[in-house]
Every structure is written in C-alpha cells, then in structure tokens.
C-alpha cells in the first residue's frame, strides 16, 4: 500500500497517555500502521513542559527545547497524541525558531546542563492533524471495512488542538473547526452537532479547583445528552480525564446519569477499519462500550 507523503514521525507520548490512556496509544498505533504511517519512539522524552509554563516560563522553554533537541537527533517530525503537548511544543518551537537570541540563551543552558542543543529544525504536529492532512479523508474512506452509519457521535475538539491559532498558522478556523467532523464522517459515522461544541473540558483548572472543573464538564455532558449522542469522540487524554475519568463523580455531584461512552478518535477509526474492540483497547474504556458495539453489529447483521 502507498504510504502518505510524510509518513515517518517520532511519537511524543507525554505524561498522561502512556500511563492513563493506553487505549488511545494502542488504537493510534494500530490505525497508523494500517494507514501506512511509521511511528518511532524515544524513551528519553519527558514532560513537554506545559505544567510549568504558569510558574516559570523559561523553565518551560528549556523542558520543551530538551524534547525538541532529542527529536532533532532522530531527524523526524514530532507527532503528539495529547493536545496540550502539541500546543506547548509547537509554541516553544515557534519561539525558538523565530527568536535567535532566545535560542542561543536556551542552548547555552541546555548544553551546559544536559549536553543538548536545538537548532530549530523540527516540525511538531498532532496525530489527528496527520490523519487529516497527510493521510486524508479519501484514503480513510477507501479503507473502511465496517459500516458505522448507525452511530451518532459527538466531536469534541478541545482547545489546544486548534488554539491559539497563531502558533498553528491558522491551520483551521478556531471558531469553526471542521477536521474532526470530517474525520468522523470519513469513518461512516454521523457527526452530532450540539450546543457549546467548542467549550473547554475544564481540565486546566482541575488541580486548582475541582468543583469548577467538574461544573464545566457537566455542562457539556448535558448538551450531549440533549442530542442523544451514542458517544463522545476525543483527541486529548486530558479531556478524557474530565469526561470519562470524572463522569461518575459528575453524575454523583449533579445527581444525574449519562453513561456516555467516550472514545478516542483512533478507536472509532479502528472500528471502521475492521479492528475488533479488544484490539483497540476498548476494555480499558471506563464507561462501557458494549451497547455501542452492539449497535454497530446490529447494523452489520
């Protein structure tokens, strides 16, 4: 099978995915392989630097630069699964590429302290962006083996995949993004539209004020229930912490019930490509996906 033009990437897992979102990682690797993308690994990557940005901006830039320097050694573009990692590394990358004085200062410290340098030669992107722009909907449609047209699923873009649009060279309109909707439609499933579709999950304030974060996620879950969505489709492990990890807690706090399955996009895509739920790590989904899978099979029968 032909590989996409840009088919080689170094995978950047970040903190959350390799510990709390194995189902995202498993399904992403499976669909990547099927679609001709080659993902390589580097066990020395650390946190992207995002959590320290609010505390010490220079420390954030150093941590990001360390990861970018490691990626530069491999000479391949960096592909993230976490949207916050993508935003954080993309922003630092832009700054280091454009501000020569800053890059010099960072490199002096980075070399002295950990023996690395970053010359600004790496591109950073998100796995879903690669699916949208490099693989493309057409190739996905050609590969679909299972009819998912009975599924009505709700895209949740999250924030850092599209914003701030300046660091992404306005790849898509931050007020009206379409890539995830299009990728969902490419699998054959229906993309459900709902109120406050672009609203933040609240994950960014979870450590600081849990009640505020839960209230934010609660609003969106309500809007999804109003549209009777079969599932929510995510592309960021932090959004998952809010909508799936905390779904029971939200149900309890707000005395309501959702039982809304939450899938990572590569899991949905994997189902369409003919992988079984177990192959896509769906046993690890905390909200049961049994009914969802039955709905697909009923259609297939």
């Amino acid at each position: 099978m032909d590989s996409p033009q840009n088919s080689n990437y170094t995978l950047f897992l970040g903190c959350t995915v390799p510990v709390r979102a194995l189902n995202y990682e498993i399904s992403a690797r499976k669909v990547a392989k099927r679609l001709g993308l080659h993902l390589s690994d580097d066990p020395d990557f650390s946190c992207c630097g995002y959590p320290i940005k609010s505390v010490h901006r220079y420390a954030y830039l150093l941590m990001a630069a360390r990861n970018l320097a490691l990626a530069e050694k491999k000479g391949l573009p960096l592909c993230t699964l976490c949207s916050a990692c993508c935003g954080s590394l993309t922003e630092a990358n832009h700054e280091l590429q454009e501000d020569e004085k800053l890059r010099k200062r960072i490199n002096e410290d980075l070399f002295e302290w950990v023996g690395l340098r970053y010359e600004g030669g790496i591109r950073v992107t998100h796995f879903v962006r690669v699916l949208d722009q490099e693989v493309g909907q057409k190739k996905i449609i050609d590969q679909v083996q299972v009819d998912l047209s009975s599924l009505h699923v709700a895209p949740h873009y999250g924030c850092h995949y599209i914003k701030p649009s300046t660091i992404y060279n306005r790849t898509e309109d931050p007020e009206n993004p379409e890539s995830l909707d299009n990728l969902i439609k490419a699998t054959g499933a229906q993309a459900v539209q709902y109120e406050d579709k672009l609203q933040c999950c609240g994950g960014g304030v979870l450590a600081m004020d849990e009640q505020v974060a839960l209230a934010m996620a609660h609003r969106k879950l309500d809007h999804l229930r109003a549209q009777q969505a079969d599932a929510m489709i995510l592309i960021c492990p932090f959004c998952n912490v809010m909508y799936e990890g905390n779904q029971r807690k939200i149900e309890k706090n707000f005395q309501t019930e959702y039982k809304l399955p939450v899938l990572y996009y590569p899991q949905l895509l994997g189902l369409a490509l003919g992988f079984g739920p177990d192959e896509l790590g769906m046993k690890m989904n905390r909200v049961k996906t049994t009914e969802l899978v039955k709905k697909i099979n009923r259609r297939a029968d």
């Binding site: 941590m63 302290w113 931050p174 007020e175 933040c200 505020v212």
Partner: protein, 165 residues
C-alpha cells in the same frame, strides 16, 4: 472600599516587561474575554476583565496573592477574540510567573512541580506501568528523568518540602 493611595502604578509596567504580559496596557475593558470565558460561565470567582482592570489600577498585592489568577483554564477562547490582542492566557501566565517570584505558589501547583522534579513527568513510570505496557505490546519507558531534575534545580526549584520533612 479601595484606597487609591495603595495603588502601585508600576505594577502594569512590571507585567508589561514580563514575557506574555506585553500588551496589558492595550486593554480597554470591553469584556469580550469575560463574555466568552467558560470558567466565568460556572463561577463568579474568575473574571478576566476584572483581573486586568485590577492589575492596570495597580492592585498588586490583591492580584498576586489571589487564587483567581490560577483559575484560567488556558482554553484560548479570549485570546482568539480579544480586539486588542491582549493575549489574556499569556498575560495570566506572566502575572502568575511574577506571583511565584513574590512567594505566592498554590500548593496544588507546587505538588505538580515536585512530581516533575522527581520523575521528569507528572505521572511516575514504575515497573507496574511498564508491566501493563508490556502486556499491551507497547514499548517500555525508562527515561532520563535526571535531566529535568537538573534543569529545575539549576533554576532554583528544589524539593524543599521533602527536605524539611
């Protein structure tokens, strides 16, 4: 009642000299940020227009010692919509960077720093995690966490709490 004699007119200049805070003085308080803020939608405690106004007036201690500057979720909705390009999430980060230097660091954020200094990540990779990864045919992770520890130590972030028990 606020006593205007306590205002620090240099506060906005200090913020403007901090990376991310450069455009604070451009704010004309239109409130577009607050109107579209998802945090503001669920709590009155966070109001970006109000925080920026307080900062411009020079209410330095009130702003730096507050919890509310830490309630921005960094969703960048206001960043995209601000007609004056104040870059509010970056401005909030600039203010938080100053707050930390002045000794105001919320304990939950301090815990995150300690995790980063210890493991180079927010979540530790132990044998248990690697065993789970192995079962799922995923590559094992080791990682030079020493690098992150060294970077943070060089910049003055030590695990003080642990040392002092």
């Amino acid at each position: 009642m606020i006593d205007s004699k306590t205002f620090d007119p240099n506060f906005k200049i200090l913020i403007a000299s901090e990376p991310g805070g450069e455009n604070i003085k451009k704010c004309f308080s239109c409130g577009t940020c607050t109107a579209g803020c998802p945090v503001r939608e669920v709590t009155d405690h966070y109001n970006p227009r109000r925080i920026i106004r307080m900062a411009i007036l020079g209410l330095k201690k009130e702003v730096l010692s507050s919890d509310f500057i830490w309630l921005c979720s960094s969703c960048y909705t206001c960043f995209e919509r601000c007609p004056q390009n104040v870059k509010i999430p970056e401005l909030m980060n600039a203010i938080k960077n100053i707050a930390v230097r002045e000794g105001y660091l919320p304990s939950s954020i301090k815990s995150q720093l300690d995790l980063l200094a210890s493991f180079g990540r927010l979540l530790e990779i132990t044998d248990f995690e690697n065993e789970k990864r192995k079962e799922s045919n995923l590559p094992l992770l080791c990682g030079k966490t020493e690098d992150v520890k060294k970077i943070l130590e060089k910049l003055g972030f030590h695990r003080e709490e642990q040392n002092s028990g």
